[in-house]
């Protein structure tokens, strides 16, 4: 294991950091305040090839690796967690399952537009009664006259209102339980498909989180992803990869809040000296730094394992669990270091604290990550 970044990875970091500093950060507060999906930033990210980083150039991907993608999500999230999750959900949850499980025809049809960012992707697994218990799918799919007919709904779908392509899961045989779940590629124009209500959230408020509604939605037979009954396995493998993306988002939020806290502690004077001179705060900052670096090691390690094509599911769960809890801890301390100002929108740390919370919840709650980790220990 070697965390010496390659020259390409170093340049990815420098480039995305500059992009995030110049373009993303100045909008972060406004995007949050207005619940605004930053369409123009997504267009720019497409232009600079940030929407298909770990996929081959034959599909118009960047030809990069998982670690470069992870560094990109981290650097974007350092400035704006909304922007980070748009890239993470699109890349990990939509492009990746099509790339991993799609037929050559499906890959040729969907990957170039998705990797080049001409189209945006999303993933539909969660339902009102199937959250952590994803196996409890109530959306059903029936094969009628050579077409799959989907009925049901999905909730909390990231990128929902702006995505063109959705990887969606539905029950094709209830009697088989998780082995009766099948994955489909659904386009937003398909008959019977619509977007339901948009959620108003505590954090990542610029991210579009919506319901998906399927009313006799017609999906061509060739849009079945993988094979019938393999949907749950596809979902779980997809989420393994997605967790590294969310872990990187958490890491970025934590780094952003840490940087703000250090800067503020050096500028803010009380009792005639910067508050950074107080040992109480110094110890707080040391604890923040340790958690930040520990999170980074876990996240990069999981990404490296994926790049080396080694098993990474447990490491991704550990990375996501730790980075999310570190982000919550660090952002909360960053607000504390800012005192009263930290509680206001004059400084970005209150937004970062609100943004951090979701990383403990989506793509598997912290409790689910503990279940995954314990399961791997006790198997």
């Amino acid at each position: 294991m070697d965390f010496n970044l390659t020259k390409q990875q170093e340049m990815v970091r420098t480039t995305v950091r500059a992009f995030a500093t110049d373009i993303v950060a100045p909008k972060a507060a406004e995007v949050d305040a207005n619940d605004r999906f930053p369409v123009e930033t997504v267009e720019l990210m497409a232009k600079y090839g940030m929407l298909g980083i770990p996929f081959p150039t034959e599909y118009e991907g960047a030809g990069g690796d998982t670690l470069s993608y992870i560094i990109t999500v981290e650097e974007l999230s350092r400035a704006c967690a909304t922007t980070g999750v748009i890239v993470s959900a699109h890349t990990s949850l939509c492009i990746n399952p099509i790339y991993q499980f799609g037929t050559p025809e499906q890959k040729a049809k969907y990957l170039p537009d998705l990797c080049a960012g001409r189209k945006l992707g999303a993933f539909g697994l969660t339902e009102p009664n199937a959250g952590t218990d994803a196996a409890g799918q109530q959306t059903v799919a029936e094969l009628v006259d050579g077409k799959w007919i989907l009925n049901g709904s999905k909730v909390f779908i990231t990128n929902g209102g702006y995505a063109d392509v959705f990887v969606v899961f539905a029950m094709t045989d209830k009697s088989k339980g998780v082995k009766g779940i099948t994955a489909f590629i659904v386009e937003k124009e398909f008959k019977g498909f619509s977007i339901g209500k948009t959620e108003h959230k505590l954090g990542i408020r610029g991210s579009s989180t919506t319901e998906l509604i399927f009313e006799n939605c017609e999906v061509p037979a060739e849009n079945l992803l993988g094979t019938v009954g393999k949907g749950f396995s596809i979902a779980m493998q997809t989420l393994d990869g997605g967790r590294i993306g969310i872990a990187a988002q958490a890491l970025g939020i934590a780094q952003g809040a840490f940087d703000e806290a250090i800067k503020y502690s050096k500028e803010r004077k009380q009792f005639g000296k910067p508050i950074s001179k107080n040992q109480g705060l110094q110890w707080m900052m040391a604890d923040m730094k340790v958690r930040l670096e520990a999170a980074r090691h876990l996240v990069y390690h999981a990404a490296c394992l994926k790049d080396e094509k080694k098993p990474f599911g447990t490491e991704a769960a550990m990375a996501k669990l730790y980075a999310a809890e570190a982000a919550m801890y660090i952002t909360e301390k960053a607000v504390q270091i800012h005192g009263g100002y930290g509680y206001t929108r004059e400084y970005p740390v209150e937004r970062m604290m609100r943004d951090a919370k979701i990383t403990e919840i989506y793509e598997g709650t912290s409790e689910v990550q503990r279940m995954v980790i314990a399961g791997s220990i006790l198997k």
Partner: protein
Amino acid sequence: MNIIVCVKQVPDTAEVRIDPVKKTLIRDGVPSIINPDDKNALEAALKIKDADKDVKITVVCMGPPPAEVALREALAMGADEAYLVSGREYGGSDTWATSNIISEAIKYIGNYDIVFCGRQAIDGDTAQVGPQIAERLDLPQITYVQDIKMDGDKITVQRALEDGYQVISVKTPCLLTCIKELNEPRYASIPGIYTAYQKEVKVLSQNELNIPADRIGLTSSPTNVHDTFTAETKGAGVVLTGSEKEVSVALVENLKAKHVI
């Protein structure tokens, strides 16, 4: 059309400090970047290429081997070829010697229609190398370019002045030095970064250029740096007190006295 863009790798002066004893730049931990004006020069070339895919952009950088990173970044932004002009013999060159070396490198590469340079580098701030290269190559030159219009082999540019600009037309081949008002440089693209590292950065050393020793390096340089220091911060300034009207009148008088207004 073939375009050559000269770039320099410089320390990011926003973060650089000067060692008060040794009088040298403290470069430890200071990131190196492409000189900002040179990025504007590269962007100008890339814009011409955006409009005409047959344009070929070659970037040239003189510096030690680590300066290769600047060339890789230029390739990642969209340049086609890169040359690193590098050799121990070139170390310590002043602007006169540097322009001797870079102009020989450009002659070696050959076949150019436009040579783009940045106005000046943020580490040396001389603004001499671009014009000197034009002289060595016997090219017409326009400095401080803030706008470019292409029309075949005719280029019409705005040359910035302190309180306005000149409109000047020139035929290729020519050399233009660019300022930040010219454009907003693009970022490297992520796919471009991976492609950039698959390309070859050709190294031009004395083996290839074979420039007479009395035209290169520290000992042949006619100018030398005698001292480097951080300017002392100015005093606290003058605080005007009184009613709004009194302060306003006093402010105007002060500014008039200093010929500001």
